[in-house]
Structures are given as C-alpha cells and as structure tokens.
C-alpha cells in the first residue's frame, strides 16, 4: 500500500478588523464635547462671576450709578445703596464711579463727627468696603491717602 501525502489548504484565519473609532463617532463625540464645554463654561461664569467681570446687566447698573454721581449730592446720598452696589462690581466700575466716590466721601467727612452706628459711620464703612472689594489699596488710589485715612477713622 502506498501512502501519499495529502495537503490540506485551509483559508488563513481572518485577522480581526481593528475596532477603531469611525469618523462619524469621532465627529459626534467632538461636537458633544464642545457643547458640554460651552455649557460648563457658562455655568462657571454664572456661579463664580468675579468682581472684575461685567455683563450687560452690570453695565446698566453702572450707568444708573453714573447718572447718580452726575447729579446733586443729595440724590447721591439718598440713593447711595444703589451707587455702592454698582461700585462693589470691582475695578472697572470703580474707575467709572471715582467722581461719585470722592463726592460721597467728602459729604460723609463734612458731616459732624459720628457716633457709633450712625449713618456717617455705616456709610463710611460701606464706601470703604465697596471701594476695596478686590483691591485693599483702592481707597487710597481713588480718594487719596488723607481722605481714605479720615474715612477709615470715621468708619471705626
């Protein structure tokens, strides 16, 4: 009996196709990431809006305060809370409301010496804190050393 070799030819096993990321999936993922990133950024800005950043609503408030500082001192004193709120927005507002800040300081210092809890003391304290909201030296920069010092004494 004669043995003859038999050669079996089997197809090579297919290499598994690389399961990479298709262009479509990549595009969708990128678009989703951009969208989520934008939303997250807006959210952070809304929550942690610093004293230096101003939006349209802040602008309107500062314009209101500018009108107050351009008017008579009585009006500024009467509505000083609005003025001081805008002043507390930070450096940009402070620069635009410097004139009113000086007028308010002069008026507070011109009044008779204050007793504890008086409007002069509270007003001086509020003005100083609004001015120095993001810069401890801002009161000196805006009001000058002498006036800022006198206002600090009045605020005690």
């Amino acid at each position: 009996m004669k043995l003859e070799p038999v050669y079996l030819l089997a197809p090579e096993p297919e290499a598994p196709r690389p399961r990479g990321i298709s262009r479509r999936v990549l595009f969708l993922a990128t678009a989703a990431a951009c969208g989520l990133g934008s939303l997250a950024t807006l959210g952070v800005q809304r929550v942690t809006k610093g004293p230096g950043s101003l939006d349209d609503s802040d602008e309107a408030f500062i314009r209101l305060a500018e009108r107050l500082q351009d008017g008579p001192i009585d009006g500024l004193m009467r509505e000083r809370e609005r003025f001081l709120f805008a002043l507390a927005f930070g450096a940009k507002a402070r620069a635009r409301l410097a004139h009113g800040s000086r007028a308010l300081a002069s008026h507070l210092l011109a009044a008779s010496p204050s007793s504890p809890g008086s409007w002069q003391q509270d007003g001086a304290r509020a003005l100083l804190q609004a001015l120095c909201i993001d810069d401890p030296n801002a009161a000196i920069t805006i009001l000058g050393t002498e006036v800022a010092g006198a206002l600090r004494l009045r605020a005690r």
């Binding site: 809370e81 609005r82 709120f85 507390a88 927005f89 409007w119 509270d122 304290r125 509020a126």
Partner: protein
C-alpha cells in the same frame, strides 16, 4: 446680631430683616417679583440667591465676620431695590 444699615428706598422691592448674627440666617422678603437676589460680600464674592415664595434665604458662612457690609439687590431695572446689611459680631 446685625442690623440693617440702610433699608431700600422703594416701598416695594426687598426687605432685609432687622438683625442677623455672624453665621446667622439672613431672610429677605422680596416683593418686586425678582426670582433671585444678588449678594456681594467683601472677601467672599458675588453670587445669586434664589427667591422662593417671596423669601430669599441665605446662611452666612463663618468666614463672614462682624463689621462686614453685605450689598444686596434685586437688580430689577430701571429701579432696582438695593440694601446694605451690616454683620455684627456674636456677643
């Protein structure tokens, strides 16, 4: 205990309480229809407090010390109601 330094000039708007202590709970009545109030607290920053059933409620963190002035507004233009509340130390 703290007291209102200046209440709002408007008959309607926001009504801060008469007193609050360091670390106390600040409740402000809101009649202007605002859905939130903005607070500016020196050393802490700017943030918004939602109004629920006409009341904005905020507990002062322990980092806000006596003598601090809290600037508050409903920001309802063109006549926003604004108040400044002073925090005073606990006895």
């Amino acid at each position: 205990m703290s007291r209102v330094v200046h209440s709002t000039q408007d008959p309607v708007g926001i009504r801060p309480p008469a007193s609050v202590r360091e670390g106390g709970n600040l409740q402000i009545g809101v009649t202007s229809g605002a859905s939130e109030l903005e607070f500016i607290i020196p050393g802490l920053g700017r943030f918004k407090v939602p109004v629920s059933n006409g009341i904005a409620e905020y507990r002062l963190p322990p980092t806000v010390h006596g003598g601090t002035m809290i600037f508050i507004s409903d920001r309802v233009m063109p006549f926003p109601s604004t108040a400044i509340v002073q925090v005073v130390s606990n006895p």
